[in-house]
Symmetry: C2
Subunit: 223 residues, 2 copies
DNA sequence: TGTACATCAGTGAACGCGCGTTCACTGATGTAC
DNA sequence: TGTACATCAGTGAACGCGCGTTCACTGATGTAC
């Protein structure tokens, strides 16, 4: 156990880590500079030696979120080389898993908690890199004839919209229990992405969903 | 011009309206009970005669947001009766227009600013009604053979995910200028929904998009 | 190797701010008789 | 029609809170000589 020293040694990273932990425990609203400093074991003004203001810390936390997404995607691309639709599905799944396991961190990273994001070059670069990875997967799929042709950046937006919208609505509690009782989140995601691909590479999953009856919704107005 | 009276007459609705206006001007962060009361021209404690606490006012504002979405969708369903894919596209477009024209109100309505939403029955009922409207459109499309068969509630989730994800990413500034320079938001949305439908009812729009070259992205890592 | 000094990470007191909420109250309204 | 009274919408002072940020400072570190 290290003795507490006047100089921390790696306070900047410790503050980012503390911030992510606070997000996990208390959500976006619980994130304050003072709590972050307390959690890192320093006085509440110490962060100002490493960050100009609160937004700068948020920028660092967001950048770390993008880094996580980037690394997961890179790993997926490497592991499923030559299987472009699988890359698409697993990259989407990695995105969703990050969102579900660390939802407040995900929200900070992608829901404009960070203002003036253009001012933070590392954030901008990583966000560009993430998008390029997705474009790359999309182009692989198109080259194999498994995805609609067309400008790959537009198709990448479409893929991203589906996965992002899906997990956002899920996190916001907009999915009815009648759906979640019948299907796993992964099956639902694959069903979504099934709209995008030109061939069905997951016939069993989709057959399972297609065969299931719709849960009887009550008529509107009689609730 | 009405003389200022001790009793307001319709303060509850005036507060909701004031809240929506503050959202439009100052965003989600600017919304406070005190500002809402000030804007409505009453003392800062007057809201407590009509709302138990801040969350209750937020619930009322969110409910109003759902009502707007519901009414727009109803109008679209009525106007395009017998043209199910058109219903799908225009309902999506109405959703996006609300999100773009009143983005903070949209965020409050659909991004879990409201906690414990299940406690507010009117919110729950309207959110159920909105979803049922979408399911209804989806079933019309399926019946006409224009949408993949399968449980209509699952397909409704897929449609909603695409439109919601699309507009969320747009609002969060995640679309690159290289895309927005080439296409209108409406064309991009139609391109997204084009993945969902089994026939292309908007050949001209899609042809316009498909014919456009991808803007040359710089290779990852050389930015 | 030792000393002087610049650098700067971290401290702790203090600031002003806007906020949600409470409380005892006041003034208008409407209804029972 | 007039009077007494209950109701309750709206008031204004006050509360405590956590927050971001500033400032003059202190203590450790490393480097030039």
């Amino acid at each position: 156990m290290p003795v507490k020293k006047y100089h921390h040694g790696d306070l900047k990273n410790a503050l980012i880590k503390a911030g992510i932990e606070i997000l996990a425990k208390e959500g976006v609203h619980g994130l304050s500079l003072r709590k972050v400093a307390l959690k890192a074991g320093v006085s509440h003004t110490a962060p100002y030696s490493h960050f100009a203001d609160k937004q700068s810390l948020i920028a660092a936390i967001s950048t770390e979120g993008l880094r996580i997404i980037c690394e997961h995607t890179e790993e997926v691309i490497r592991r499923y080389r030559g299987k472009p639709v699988r890359q698409l599905i697993e990259a989407g799944w990695a995105y969703i898993q990050f969102a579900l396991s660390d939802s407040a961190h995900f929200k900070v990273t992608l829901s404009s908690v960070l203002e003036r994001e253009k001012d933070y070059s590392e954030y901008v670069e990583l966000s560009y890199k993430c998008f390029s990875q997705l474009v790359c997967i999309v182009e692989n799929c198109q080259a194999a004839g498994l995805l609609r042709p067309g400008p790959s950046d537009v198709e990448a937006i479409n893929v991203w919209s589906i996965v992002h919208g899906f997990v956002s609505l899920y996190l916001e509690g907009q999915f009815y229990h009648t759906i979640l009782e019948r299907f796993t989140v992964r099956d639902l995601m694959i069903s979504s992405l099934g709209h995008i691909t030109l061939v069905d590479l997951t016939p069993r999953t989709y057959a399972r969903i297609a065969a299931s009856p719709r849960y009887a919704l009550q008529p509107v107005g009689t609730i």
